[in-house]
Every structure is written in C-alpha cells, then in structure tokens.
C-alpha cells in the first residue's frame, strides 16, 4: 500500500476536530508530513515503526511488567507520525499557561500565609479545609523567591471547534518530560529530512533551564551548590525519567536512604563522609518525604527533612503542599484566581466543571449522566473516572451513590470529544484522540515553556482516556513556524 492510499483511507469523523484533515482537505500545518509520507510505502513506515521500538528498547526506556516472577520489559507505545501545533496556536497556549501559573503561584503563597482569597470569599474556606492535599505542616514556611510551582505539567485538550481548554493542572511531580525529549531524539532518527525541513522549534534545552533554576534556589553562599534528584528507586515506573534528568543535568540521583538530616541540615552519605545538600528536586510524593511528619511507614523519605526545609537550609522542588492547587475541585476556581490576583481575563478557558457539593449542579449532572465524565478530586492517572457515555447502568448508579456519600470528593465535566490526529496502527492511518501536556518551568527570571510538550494518545479506538496506565501512548509534538506564502 502506498502512502497516498493510506491518506485516502483515512476516515473523517463527524463532530470531531481532526488536526490533520478538514473534510477532504489536509490542513496546512500537515502538508509537509503529507508530502513526505505520500512518497513512502507501508513497509517503509512499518520499518520506521520497528526501528523506533528498537531504539526505546536498547536504551532501556522501558517499564517492567511482572508475571510468574518473570519481569517482562515493555516500552511505552510511541506513534511515529508527529503531532503538529502552529506557532500561532503555541503563542496562545504559552501566554495562557504563563498567566495561569503566575496566578497559581500567588494562590499557593496566599493559602499558606494570609489566606486573603478566603477572607475575600473568592474561594470557600470549606473547599480548602476539606482538600486532602491542603498541608497544614507547611503553613507559614517561606520558600525561595516565593515560587511554589517550579515545574508544572498543564494538560490541555482541544474541543470539537479546535479551541484549546485546560483540562488539569499538575503541580506536584508531573512526569513524562523525558518522553517528550526522547520522542524527539527518536524522530530525528526516523524522519531526519522531514524534521530538518519543517522549521520545528527546539526543545532539548529543557534540562539546562531546569538546572539553572534549581541551582538558583540554593540558599548557601557557595560556588557549587549541591543539587540532587530524589527518586523512590528503581522500581518506580518513572525511574527511567529520573535517571535521564539527573544525567542530563549532571546532578546526583539519590534515594531516601542516601540522605540524612543533622542539625536541620541535609547531607548525603558519600564514600568520603557526609556532604551537605542545598536543593532537592524530589520525585517522591509529599506524604512519603518525611516519616517524622507525614506517613510514619515511609521508607522512601528522609527523617527530619521537614525541619531542614522549615529552617530554609534546603530547597525542595516542587514545594510541599502544592496539591491544594491542583485539586480537581479547586481547579474550577482557577479562572477566579486569575481575576483576583492578576486582574486579567483567563486566556485559556477551563472545561466547564460542576461541583457535586452544590445541590443544583449535582441534580443537573444526575439528569445528564450519559453526557458527563465523573472524576474523583484527589485521583490522577486516569483512575477514579467514570465516562457517562460508556458506563453501564449499574456503574452509573454506583457512581451516584458514591457522590451522594461524599459529594466534595467528586466533580463532573461534560464529555469533550478530544481532537484526533493520525496514528499508524495495524497498517492503516487511523484517527485517535489526543491531549497535550506542555512543561513549564518557573524560575527567578520568569516562566519558560519549551515549545512542544508531551502528546498523549488514546490508542484504543474511540477511547478518550490517554493515560499510559490505561492503554495510552505518546507522539512527538512539533511546534512549527509556518513559512509565509
């Protein structure tokens, strides 16, 4: 089968925004891809697909599935056809995310200090008080440069008219950035000419910006501050990413057992004795960080870490307690925060969100369950989610009961048909739903967002769930400057 026929058989999906095809026309940003693939045959493309898988495998970019005591190595599925975003669209996204993060940082500072936003009744006190990630232990702690969210992964989706919406803020330990970077490296190997001719913006300076931001957080007067990346260890599913980032930044990768706290200072245990640590980029959740303050059974953390943090002797990235700002119920108030703190209109819109605590909204949702997606406010990774259009009657009934038992724990959103992009599956080009997670870095000199992000794709036909734990894959994401015609 030739590339041309692959495109001819690409189905049009009614009521869904396909990013490549508008009715019978290939959209302009995809012209270069269309031209390149048209000249190839299916076996060429399949060969590229195979090469991509081998590259991931040989580099150990894998996760392990255990069955019968045997570990089986799997790669995260990668689709070779890049996803394209134009520089104009990107400009809009970038401005929107920067605005949102400025507001969220101000919110976190406020909520752990004066709580002015509650006194002014912009956000109900009960909502914050009932948030499981509102961390009383960090109340009043001053963090360097008043930055709480140093690294954010903001999930965006595109509705049926092509508009970008914010779906979710990930402000704790967002993962996936290594896939964004590695996907590009693999694309360089499989589509070198296409990449070189398409004016694609560079993304590989991400680790350098992050490193500069981390070093700037050190509070000790020293020429070479010690920055470490704290990982839960080799069994963590994101372990590859931890090693990748540590290597790219040239910082130590440490586990909790490598660190010790003495007189409110953090040290790492080296072969030459103890060495003080200034900045910790942690990939361990808040509740496991310090067994003396949070979960006492945690073996991943460092006893006494909070005392050093409180004293300002060590900077922790992202700050503790950020979960209160990416709670799914608090999400609905982010537009209000933007107005409150910045006196601006939100550039990127939220997906309409119904609070189940609110009786009227709840009644409305119950009447329209089949059009709604129900989400638990403190869950992530695609867990705790019920899609109204595909759930059985029993599941919907059970979901209603759960909501009634604890309405604060749930929100509902109308199901948005995510935009689709072409994927090479089973020897055909097929449309699949995608989202986009750009990674934003907040440092003392402002907010940087490398142009692109991780495009996650729901590989099952018709599925809207893109999470890797639920059968999702990923794609390289190109932000391109279209040439003037």
């Amino acid at each position: 089968m030739t590339g041309e026929t692959l495109f001819q058989h690409y189905p049009a999906m009614p009521m869904i925004w396909d990013e490549m095809k508008d009715a019978d026309r290939i959209r302009e940003p995809y012209h270069s891809i269309y031209e390149a693939i048209r000249k190839l045959n299916l076996p060429d493309l399949q060969q590229k697909d195979k090469l991509a898988s081998e590259l991931f495998m040989s580099q150990g970019i894998t996760f392990t599935v255990y069955s019968d005591n045997e570990g089986i190595e799997r790669i995260f599925p990668f689709d070779i056809i890049p996803r394209i975003i134009t520089s104009t669209e990107w400009g809009h996204i970038e401005a929107g995310i920067k605005q949102r993060l400025r507001a969220l940082n101000l919110f976190l500072k406020d909520i752990y200090h004066e709580q002015q936003i509650i006194h002014d009744e912009v956000i109900p006190a009960a909502l914050i008080a009932s948030c499981p990630h509102f961390t009383r232990e960090v109340f009043g702690i001053k963090v360097p440069n008043d930055i709480y969210v140093h690294i954010a992964g903001i999930d965006l989706i595109r509705g049926d008219d092509g508009t970008f919406y914010i779906l979710e803020d990930n402000l704790r330990t967002p993962s996936g950035v290594s896939y964004m970077l590695e996907n590009r490296e693999v694309t360089k190997r499989i589509f070198p000419d296409l990449l070189a001719n398409s004016n694609v913006r560079m993304i590989n300076n991400y680790p350098l910006i992050l490193h500069d931001n981390l070093v700037a957080l050190s509070q000790r007067q020293t020429e070479n501050p010690v920055v470490v990346l704290l990982t839960p260890g080799v069994f963590n599913s994101a372990y590859f990413e931890h090693t990748f980032l540590a290597r790219q930044m040239g910082i130590q990768l440490v586990e909790g057992r490598d660190l010790v706290v003495d007189h409110q200072k953090v040290y790492m245990k080296t072969t030459a004795g103890l060495r003080q640590v200034d900045v910790i980029y942690r990939r361990v959740d808040d509740e496991f960080l310090d067994p003396l303050v949070f979960r006492p059974d945690s073996a991943l953390g460092v006893p006494g870490l909070m005392s050093a943090y409180r004293k300002g002797n060590v900077a922790i990235v992202n700050a503790l307690g950020n979960g209160v700002a990416d709670d799914k119920a608090v999400y609905a108030y982010v537009p209000a925060m933007i107005k409150y703190y910045l006196n601006e209109e939100p550039i990127l819109q939220n997906v309409p969100t119904y609070q189940m605590k609110n009786v009227e909204e709840r009644e409305y949702v119950f009447e329209n369950m089949e059009k709604m997606v129900i989400k638990e406010t403190n869950q992530s990774g695609g867990y705790g989610m019920v899609m109204g259009n595909s759930a059985t009657k029993e599941e919907l009934q059970k979901s209603k009961e759960c909501i009634l038992a604890n309405p604060r724990n749930f929100i509902a959103q109308p199901i948005i048909k995510l935009s689709t992009v072409p994927c090479l599956l089973d020897g055909k080009l097929q449309p699949r739903h995608v989202d986009l997670r750009p990674y934003a870095l907040c440092g003392p000199n402002g907010i940087d967002i490398v142009p692109g992000g991780l495009t996650r794709v729901a590989l099952r036909e018709g599925s809207l769930v893109v999470n890797s734990s639920q059968g999702g894959g990923s794609k390289d994401t190109w932000v391109i400057d279209l040439r003037e015609t």
Partner: protein, 313 residues
C-alpha cells in the same frame, strides 16, 4: 561519591567479570565436549563445580548432556548463578547508577541483558547454533569492557568499578586453578599433558601466551607459574591483585575515612604475600592451603571494603 553508587559500581563489575569468566569456561568446555575420548575427563565438571551449587551426584547426572548443562548454566533462573541471573543483577546495579555510568555503558549492559533473556536463546543453545550464541555473548561481554574503557571518566566511579572487576578476577583465577590442580592432586612436579592444561589456559585466555613463553615439558609447573605469578598475564593472580592494589590506593587517597588505614593494611598484606612468593613457597605451603588462604583473604577484603565505604542503608 554516594556510598550506594560506589557499592553498585563495584558489584556491577564483579558480576560482569563473573559473567565473562563463566562464558569463557563454558565455551572451552563446550568445544571440549565434542572430543569424546578424554583422558582427562574434564568436560563440564569444572564449570559445574565452580558456578553451581549442585551436588556431586547431580553433576554426574547432568554433565553428559551438553544441551542441559548449557540451559542450566546460561538461561535457567533456578540456578542462582546462571548467566541470566548474573547479568540481571549486573543490570539492576547499572539501573540504580544510570546517571553515574555513561549512556554507552548502560546501553551495552542493557543489550547483553536482552540477549540473555531473549526467548530464542534457549532454543539456540539446544541446537547446532549453541556455539554461535555463546560467541555472540562473549563478544557482547568484550564490548562491555571496551566501551567501559573508552567512555567512562577516570574518577571515583572508575576506581570502584575496577576494584570490583579485579577482586572478582582474582577469585575466578583462584577457583579455576584450584579445580584443575585438584585433578592432579596439586602436584606440580608431575608432567600432565598440555591438552589437559589447555582447557584451563583457554578459559583464562592464556593459552597462546603459554605457548610463546614455555617450550619445555614441565607443564604443571609452568602453568602454575603463569596463572599465579606472571606479571604480564592479565588474568594471573599477581596481575589482578596488583591492579586492585592500584585502584585501592586511589580510592583510599580520595576517601580518607576512619576505616581506610586498616583496610589498606589488610589488602597490603595479601598483595605482598603474593608479590613476594614463588613456586617454592607455594610448594612448601601446599598449593591447596595457599589458594584457600588467598580466597579467604579476598572475601574478607571484599567484606571490609563494603563496611568501610558502602555502609549506607
């Protein structure tokens, strides 16, 4: 350097060196197994005795079946010292220090791991392609050495890696030598056929050197001299100890902690003992007690090294 990292680098290289030694011995034994007329009766015996925990009876039962031996030694996970288990452990250590080794080194360990765990390997080992498969594994192990040498920075990590490598090499040479000399009742005044010693020398990659260096018939004596004291033979006990001594000196200089002086004294005694010995002393002590003592001291050194630099948990 983090203690945990140093520990992992040390063990990464111990395991890789063990895998290498084992593969060489397997290849030699496999080729030897085709010669059905064997005066020496060597065949799979040494490999099974050194690298498995099987009883005498089990070894007897297994050693006539080439395919079964290869399966057991290479791919069987019930054998806790099979190549697959060793390489998996090496990879686990490498995974834990991925940011401290170069990308190339990691990819090579990962490559060898995927070779050993590939489902087709079991089938290959049972058929006529067994030698091709073993050769491919040996090449991959050689590549690991080359890649490590050409990409790893010469810092602390390098020193710990080499300490692991040469500690393991000493132990392997001691074990190999012991098994083969046991067959001749540790008598090196005797003149065993060179064909007997060829297996030992091939397993240690020292056969060609032996032919170049020795032209007389005192094979037992010559072989003992070569594997224990030849300072130009990279797998001799003396050479490996001397290298380990160099890396220990570098490590101790960079990490002058409390336990360093006793550790250096302990290793210094062992190093000097071998350095200032010769075959006459070995004969006087008895080869078996001599090798036994070296093995004991090496294990003690490894333990003390861990206690001094790797205690982090």
């Amino acid at each position: 350097m983090l203690s945990r990292i140093a520990d992992s680098l040390f063990w990464l290289h111990r395991y890789m060196e063990r895998a290498d030694g084992m593969l060489r011995l397997l290849k030699t034994s496999y080729i030897l197994s085709f010669d059905k007329v064997q005066a020496s009766g060597i065949s799979w015996g040494p490999a099974l005795q050194i690298f498995t925990a099987l009883s005498k009876e089990e070894i007897e039962a297994l050693k006539t079946n080439d395919a079964a031996v290869l399966q057991y030694m290479i791919t069987d996970t019930r054998n806790l010292n099979s190549l697959r288990v060793i390489v998996t452990r090496a990879r686990e250590n490498a995974r834990g220090v991925q940011d401290q080794i170069t990308k190339e080194v990691w990819e090579q360990v990962n490559h060898l791991y995927h070779m050993v765990t590939h489902p087709a390997l079991t089938e290959k080992l049972a058929g006529p392609d067994a030698i091709v498969a073993i050769d491919a594994l040996i090449t991959s192990s050689d590549q690991f050495c080359g890649i490590t040498d050409s990409t790893m920075p010469r810092g602390q990590g390098w020193n710990y890696m080499n300490l692991g490598k040469f500690t393991e090499r000493c132990l392997l040479t001691v074990e190999f030598t012991n098994i083969f000399f046991r067959k001749v009742n540790y008598d090196f005044t005797d003149e065993q056929d060179i064909l007997f010693w060829r297996s030992l020398l091939l397993a240690l990659s020292g056969y060609e050197l032996h032919l170049k260096n020795y032209s007389n018939q005192n094979h037992n004596c010559n072989v003992a001299q070569q594997v224990l004291f030849d300072k130009n033979f990279p797998r001799s006990l003396y050479y490996a100890l001397d290298r380990a001594n160099k890396y220990l000196c570098d490590v101790s200089e960079m990490n002058p902690v409390e336990g360093t002086p006793p550790l250096c004294r302990m290793f210094g005694r062992l190093h000097s003992y071998v350095k200032f010995s010769d075959l006459a002393i070995v004969a006087e002590t008895g080869m078996e007690p001599f090798l036994k003592e070296i093995r004991h001291e090496l294990n003690e050194f490894s333990r003390l090294l861990g206690q001094t630099y790797f205690s982090y948990a």
